[in-house]
Symmetry: C2
Subunit: 297 residues, 2 copies
């Protein structure tokens, strides 16, 4: 398994995700920014903004070389300290305009470290998760079904493990609240051989598209008004809080001299913070936290 | 110097700052929330929102007891590990509606730790800083003059030292950009006797009011339109980035189980993120980063 083959697959995934978004968007196209990383490597950021359906979407490919992983990444692997690495991945955030369409995030990544003796240690990571503003049982069911379908060929223990990892990761401790309804999340995946891990990463990427596109399609034309937009702006504040306080990819990216605009393209376009605001009990806004953000199976 | 005397002064400062804000606001009043901390103590949060002049202002008094300071706070004082402490302070963030009025932040705080042998170690911290959207030389001059006036009675080295500390602290490394035009910042102040330190903290609090009120008064009625509001929402994104990524008070507060709504009352009401946006060179928006956010004396 050559890194080049993985890179080509990642670039094709980026294309297919952008195609899915523009198919549903209809009006606007992605703009592209190629950039280079200070330590070597670079990326191709693709961003679509102010569309009819999509308020902001970022689909970023990056391939970064470095002389050493950050301390947090080598804590469990002391043999990898001060070893050069290559990291590549695709990350996606889609903020639709219609508040009835959930925001979504997906990421797949491959990291390869070259030890002092020339041998390699490599692993995969990734996943996808969904952040609705208004809940629909049908959408949640479909989302989790697709997540399960991506995992099941790799063993029956895979889905429950990576689903729980997702729930644990996308959690705002200071709010005592999950970021959304979850999905799957995995990291440090090297226990399988590289072919199996790569196949799994491909399945995760493919199932992200089949998980999100039907939801986007069936909710994008629902009528909404200022009430729903205001709630969407308010809830997007939680998204910002998560990404800037907890998200490891965001914080490591900023600390390691990554391209700020590509990293922070995940932030929502328009956001509001209101002091100690709570939706009316029993309202459709209250249903989000009372029903959909409760942990269930 | 009893903690009770410091507390009474902090409560009076909170009152005077709220009075200054409502004097300039004219329409809306502060609401009050008294709250208790999980580890003991509590606070009085006062928030004014959706005013004619003030879009959001928070003036928070808090007094928190704890069994031990966080590790970062005892790194330079190993004799204070696992010693109970008391922390009290007032923190202020004012987000005016008019984009020609800068956002401001101020904070004064007192921490007292009781060592195992019953002796005390206590220190003061605080400061104030200004975050304009559009720059006015006259306002910057007045702001820094007041900051200097607060410091000069305590020694000529005080102002340059605490001004630099402010510039260093309120800096967004991932943007290579200061948050605003600075002011003064100090922490761990125990090198003076407690009377002198307390007097200094009082001067800092008093000069914050005389630094900000004239700026608020002379800019609050300037005409503005959607262009200026959009730029204000965009620049407020930087404020959110600083507070959630770097600000120690915010992060320690959230980690130590502080009251989330009181801590995050510092976040601006309406914010926008735009991908890789830059103001037109030579525009009054570009002047902010090209002139006012350059470090000068």
């Amino acid at each position: 398994m050559s890194p080049e083959k993985i890179k080509q697959w990642l670039l094709s995934l980026q294309n297919r995700i952008c195609q899915m978004v523009t198919d549903e968007e209809g009006e606007r196209q992605f703009i592209e920014d190629a950039w280079t990383h200070t330590q070597g490597g670079g990326g191709l950021t693709r961003v679509l903004t102010e569309g009819a359906v999509i308020e902001k979407a970022g689909v970023n490919f990056s391939q970064v070389h470095g002389r050493a992983l950050v301390a947090a990444a080598t804590a469990r692997h002391p043999d990898l300290v001060d070893c050069p690495f290559e990291a590549m991945g695709v990350s996606v955030v889609i903020h639709p305009r219609n508040p009835y369409v959930p925001t979504t995030h997906a990421n797949v990544r491959f990291i390869q470290v070259t030890r002092k003796d020339g041998s390699h240690h490599s692993w995969f990571g990734g996943g996808f998760d969904l952040t609705p503003y208004y809940g629909f049982q049908e959408d949640c069911q479909h989302w989790h079904d697709e997540a399960k379908a991506a995992c099941d060929p790799y063993g029956h223990e895979v889905y429950p493990r990576f689903k729980k990892w997702c729930d644990d990761y996308f959690y705002l401790k200071h709010r005592n609240e999950p970021r959304g309804i979850g999905g799957i999340f995995f990291d440090d995946l090297y226990e399988w051989d590289i072919e199996k891990s790569f196949a799994f990463m491909c399945d995760v990427g493919n199932h992200f598209i089949s998980a999100y596109q039907p939801i986007l399609r069936r909710r994008k034309s629902l009528p909404y008004g200022e009430r729903e937009r205001a709630f969407q702006r308010y809830r997007r504040g939680r998204y910002v809080e998560f990404n800037l306080i907890y998200d490891r990819g965001t914080l490591f990216g900023l600390q390691s001299g990554g391209r700020t605009e590509s990293i922070l393209m995940s932030l929502p376009p328009a956001v509001e913070w209101k002091y100690d605001w709570h939706p009316e009990p029993g309202s459709k806004e209250a249903e989000l936290t009372e029903v959909f953000l409760k942990r269930t199976d």
